[in-house]
Symmetry: C2
Subunit: 436 residues, 2 copies
């Protein structure tokens, strides 16, 4: 056991007071988002019917590198931030690697994941703009839980459409959302036209993220003072997540190190951008050579095998057209346990950065991800979310390369959430019932 | 929302390096523990067959107020300690109380509760003494999880006898223990004589803590290099838990306050003693007037309705005779969700302190405990363990008294664990299916 310091914290006064908007510093800006019907460049006003006005403006802001975090959001961040930066000495020892491995532990948030960083911001802006109701979809449930809690804090009503099969298979997630006061509806439901259409054709339909999104958007558009909130993909969501990397940068300085490699799992890109972009600005502005690795599931390989093109964000094709790496908006990924990574496209910022060679991507098979997760749990005592297991697997690959070469690289990864509410997945893995 | 500081941490250098043994400072020492057969005063050597030698000595130490925490245990504490001291501003606001409420958040440990503080110490001493196997019982599963993880860290084999009904009803707990590498056996089992006797008479027996203890002790006694480890009641377990209060004392100083009231839930007394005893020493030695409140379940009211007498620690009557408040070692509490509080007796130290008026006790009904837990979850975002809900309920009672009198008392309680793996209990509560 090392006598080195294990965990690093900032004081409340040291917690960053602004988010970092990498769009302002990118040499090649993301290509414009297009209106789905007119195909013209989208303006912030075009997003107002769906999102809060402030989030709509943040979405398209390519000018301001630093955005103030509103005071009430900063106060709520204090409930769980700064999150620990941890030297993974147990994992290093288990691997026998000379690499120094650090992880940022976002699992300590009240809802168990990084998702709260943006849910609080989005709920706050809605409340400020006189919105009374918010709605969203959730698959695995991490985002739905964050929205339920954020709504409660700001006195908003939340309606969460949860994919029916998850609603039934993950009752603990549903209970958690209900405890925070949210209305949780199994999707497809009879509460929307989209849901009714599906159920009248197929009464046993088990739901999908695509259907749940359609129901949530329909509810938002048909309800006064109701907005739709989204947990990833969009640039404003990633902006809110940069608090992760900005804290980590200061904490790494406390540890006296700077990362050679930054790793995060990748669904829509918000936890990846959250930890990576603050460090990437030093690559862009000062010529640092840090590598950034996005770890995606092999079953949904938009970064490693997708095509860079304009595509819709949802299955039904109702969203604006986004310039992104995509497997096609009608791509149906296999039903892996990392539900948060089952998305066909990548956010527009990460897509541009990948195109320009500023970041890399690797794909991880399901068994490798759980193998990594169990090794990490035994070594560090924390059960990672199935999504986070992908980041751990990619980290282990790099640490093992260091073992071969003898290089003492510094690797930082984001532990985006814990897996305590996903133990069924581990059960299946440990029983040998999971397959790639 | 308050602009006051919300959370308080110590640096690693400030984490206490010794545990506090209140026995040394008590004016009336606990009465001697007696040998179950000879009824003579127990010596440390009499405990060696069951526990590690070092824990046996700590158990009976009435001389040394400060016991060094071994360096390897301190290193492992760093993985999650110091735990946050949190000002419960959300709860204060929800109650509209002038009281200042703080909680020590032990739920952030890798296994989700304070139990790890002692499991690590006990596993370490076993390893140092050449022990290769440890065994224990678990009901709700918090202790079994801590033992599984601690055994893994120190390279020991762990066998956990889990009460059969919990084994079947709480599969997530079982998975967690198995992930850490423990063998988990539903009790009663065919692996011991005690288990076989029960199963041949009653093949459908659902198990009890008493049966699981009998099986674990039998395994320890019949296996070379195997010791039994215990999660509460015994004085050495409480000793290890004093890290909670010792940290909290320094953290309260950072907050510029000192508690008027300290509250914890009470099963066998280890989390209560852990947070209370370090503060209580200032009552004993310097005449401070802090109140200490143990919150027990109304269904198992040993402190408020039990009798102070010599009694066995287990149902079968195999343990030494302990001078304690007890409901009788054959008392069968109702099957409440706070499994960790379903124990018939109180540790000998707390029993003596209660007898001498140095602490108080209140009993809390199940519905009041869950009502408090849900209020806390909504206000602070953390789902408390059903056990911890009792401490929250007692805290709320005191905070409401402050509201009536206008007194700005400082209340500190211990959040002994999270309830993320006990959501079934909350489900039942929210659905109106729980009764007192």
């Amino acid at each position: 056991m090392s006598k080195d310091q294990k965990r690093f914290f900032l004081t409340e006064a040291e917690i960053p007071t602004q988010w970092y908007n990498i769009q302002a510093d990118m040499k090649n800006k993301p290509q414009p988002i297009l209106h789905p019907k007119t195909k013209e460049e989208l303006k912030a006003e075009d997003l107002f019917p769906m999102f809060s006005q402030e989030c709509s403006r943040q979405e398209l802001d390519q000018t301001n590198a630093w955005i103030d975090i509103p005071e009430p959001v900063r106060e709520l961040y204090k409930n769980y931030r700064c999150t620990p930066l941890v030297r993974a000495t147990g994992l290093e020892k288990a691997l026998g690697t000379p690499a120094h491995i650090y992880f940022k532990n976002e699992s300590v948030s009240p809802v168990g994941s990084h998702k709260l960083n943006s849910a609080l911001a989005q709920a706050y802006y809605c409340q400020q703009e006189g919105i009374t109701n918010i709605t969203t979809e959730t698959g695995a449930g991490q985002w739905g839980t964050a929205v339920s809690y954020a709504a409660k804090v700001f006195g908003l009503e939340a309606a969460v459409y949860q994919v029916k099969i998850s609603y039934e298979q993950k009752p603990y997630r549903r209970s958690l959302m209900q405890m925070f006061g949210a209305q949780v509806i199994a999707s497809p439901s009879m509460s929307t036209r989209a849901g009714k259409d599906i159920l009248t054709k197929d009464p046993n339909n088990q739901g999908s993220l695509g259907t749940a999104i359609s129901e949530a958007i329909e509810l938002a558009e048909s309800t006064p003072n109701c907005k739709y909130v989204l947990g990833s993909v969009m640039s404003h969501v990633t902006l809110h997540q940069t608090i992760i990397g900005l804290e980590a940068e200061k904490q790494m300085a406390l540890a006296g190190e700077y990362p050679d490699i930054v790793v995060a799992c990748f669904g829509g890109g918000s936890n990846f951008g959250g930890i990576a972009f603050p460090f990437m600005r030093h690559n862009i502005l000062e010529g640092k050579q840090t590598r950034f690795i996005a770890a995606e599931p092999a079953s949904c390989p938009k970064l490693t095998q997708g095509e860079f093109r304009y595509d819709f964000g949802d299955v039904a094709g109702h969203t604006p057209l986004l310039p992104m790496f995509s497997l096609g908006h009608d791509f149906m990924p296999a039903n892996i346990h990392a539900g948060g990574l089952r998305y066909h496209g990548a956010g527009v910022i990460a897509s541009q950065l990948l195109k320009d060679g500023l970041m890399e991507a690797v794909d991880i098979k399901q068994l490798e991800s759980f193998q990594a997760g169990v090794l990490f749990a035994k070594a560090e005592g924390i059960v990672p979310a199935p999504e986070s297991c992908h980041a751990i697997a990619a980290t282990i690959r790099e640490a093992q390369k260091c073992k071969e070469t003898g290089e003492q690289k510094v690797i930082l990864f984001n532990l985006s959430g814990h897996g305590l509410i996903d133990m069924t997945a581990y059960d299946n893995y440990l029983a040998g019932n999971l397959h790639d």
